[in-house]
Amino acid sequence: MKMVVASGKGGVGKSMLASSLAILFAKDGKKIIACDADVDAPNLAVWLGGVSDWDKSKKITTLEKPVIDKQKCIGCGKCVQNCQFNALRIENKKAKLNYFFCEGCGVCQIVCPQKAIKLVPVKNAQILIKNKTKHGFPLISAQLFPGESGSGKIVAEVKKEAEKFQYDTMIIDSAPGTGCPVNAAMLDANFAVLVTEPTPSGISDLYRVLEVVNHFKIPYQIVINKWDINRSLSKKIEKEFEGKLLSKISYDQKIFKAISTLTPLMKTNLKAKREITKIYLRLVSIFKQTLLRREEK
């Protein structure tokens, strides 16, 4: 089973929760695999107490970008007209690429009458694999190289690597937002834990990410993090999502201090640790019920 931890808004506690849940599941004897699907800004390894020596790191290619042969280019501008991403222009009677705008779709190569454009594979990311973290389970992470594009496909690669391991539960820590990397993280997930906070932004972004969750028809539950920073807004969320509320986590500046010394939350004695343990137990019972229902069918 695949569980994705997501949120529209960034910094609401996805990685904190995903790392803690992974540790709890593993402690219970479940075969866990943790995936960091925030390939833009991956932090799951830090929340797990830091991983310094990866077992495997490999550069990967998930996209191609055009190279223009200036000898062959006649500056006809067909590529410029057809590029939907405004990545090409004519400069000194030759086509010129703006590398950062290019999505690598290859339209320019198709339309060029001179065959002056050729797509070439780009190494745009690095996949990092730790076969056994100090918590006993594997972690798959990745890093999009700054300035490159294609995060969605890199997330797909992370999940592909994870599939090579045997597991009961894959925990996927999604990027914020609702765009390609988030879609790739959610694509085949069986369950989503959506993290929010009681601020107008937190609520607004929760609704945005729900559009994606509902699009993929993924069953979900909501966690309100830092619920006590605004009790009335927290109540509003609780009321609005009755039956969908997994639990709440309190605000605590000490979490900052713990993670600054690379201490995973589950190794502390903070209140949040007990609250997340409660979340874990509720998740276990929800998964059991779903399994029972499936068997009955």
Partner: protein, 279 residues
């Protein structure tokens, strides 16, 4: 006219808060300012300013493929060409186009020898304009995925159009400054947000995650050749040594330090951040 981009790599470090506080600072020195919210997937600046985005000023459209079965010869060329692998075909059948992963690049209709792939225009986003005061406007981009109809990967287009709208409006109103507020991360919509700015403020927090993601965004700015300065938010919650190290590595410095402030948190959650003047 000056263009400044506020970004940060990590989510929730206070990009939008800093963007609004910067706007307040420039307005109080009687500059005309536009704040442009480029977090088009989850825009929040309007909420911080107590504004509603209701009637869009302009709409953003894109084109998506639609198969004309009368012309299609089932050759499969479109399937082979699609770099996003969103077109499927079982042998001998018509190809099926999956819109939700289509980036509307147009390769399929360009490559089709029978003109069987037609273009269908769809609304993918909206641009809003709010007047906050006599010398302060907010431009907001919003992807509008009625997700079943249009793609989910259209973020970049909306960022581009929001930027264009803000630039045009700034010229028309003779503004001194546009402040762009980007999404988290370092991928395409963030790159589009940073390109052709005069300066980047990279917002971070004193945690190992903040430090890690700051390194990524400073690296990106260096590659895009845009000068960057660091803003350390919630500066008193941790040790700033590591942040300083990363800043130095990329030959920049911590330009501003903002301590954790109940006043900011309160104004943030009540949508009255335009009243806070602390920078």
């Amino acid at each position: 006219m000056e263009k400044i981009t506020v970004t940060g790599g990590k989510g929730g470090v206070g990009k939008s808060t800093i963007a609004v506080l910067l706007a307040n600072k420039f307005i109080s020195s009687s500059k005309k300012v536009i704040l442009c919210d480029l977090d088009v997937e989850c825009p929040n600046d309007h909420l911080l300013l107590g504004q509603k985005i209701e009637k869009p000023k302009t709409l953003v459209y894109s084109y998506f493929p639609k198969l004309n079965k009368n012309k299609c010869q089932k050759c499969g060329l479109c399937v082979k060409t699609c770099y996003n692998h969103t077109i499927f075909q079982t042998p001998g059948e018509y190809p099926i186009f999956l819109r939700n992963l289509c980036s509307s690049c147009g390769a399929c209709w360009v490559v089709c020898p029978y003109e069987a792939v037609e273009k269908e225009k769809e609304k993918i986003g909206e641009i809003f304009l709010n007047k906050i005061s006599d010398n302060f406007w907010l431009v907001t981009g919003l992807t509008k995925p009625g997700v079943d109809k249009t793609g989910l990967v259209v973020t970049d287009f909306v960022v581009g159009e929001a930027k264009k709208f803000a630039n045009d409006f700034a010229k028309k109103m003779n503004c001194d400054l546009i402040l762009f507020d980007t999404m988290p991360g370092t991928h395409c919509p963030v790159i589009s947000g940073i390109l052709d700015s005069d300066l980047v403020y990279a917002v971070t927090e004193p945690t190992p995650m903040g430090v890690h993601d700051l390194g990524l965004i400073l690296d990106l700015c260096q590659k895009l050749k845009v000068p960057a300065k660091v803003v350390l938010n919630q500066a008193d919650l941790g040790d700033k040594k590591e942040t300083q190290k990363i800043a130095q590595k990329f030959k920049t410095n911590i330009e501003m330090e903002i301590p954790y402030s109940k006043e900011i948190v309160k104004a943030y959650s009540e949508g009255q951040l335009e009243r806070v003047n602390i920078l």
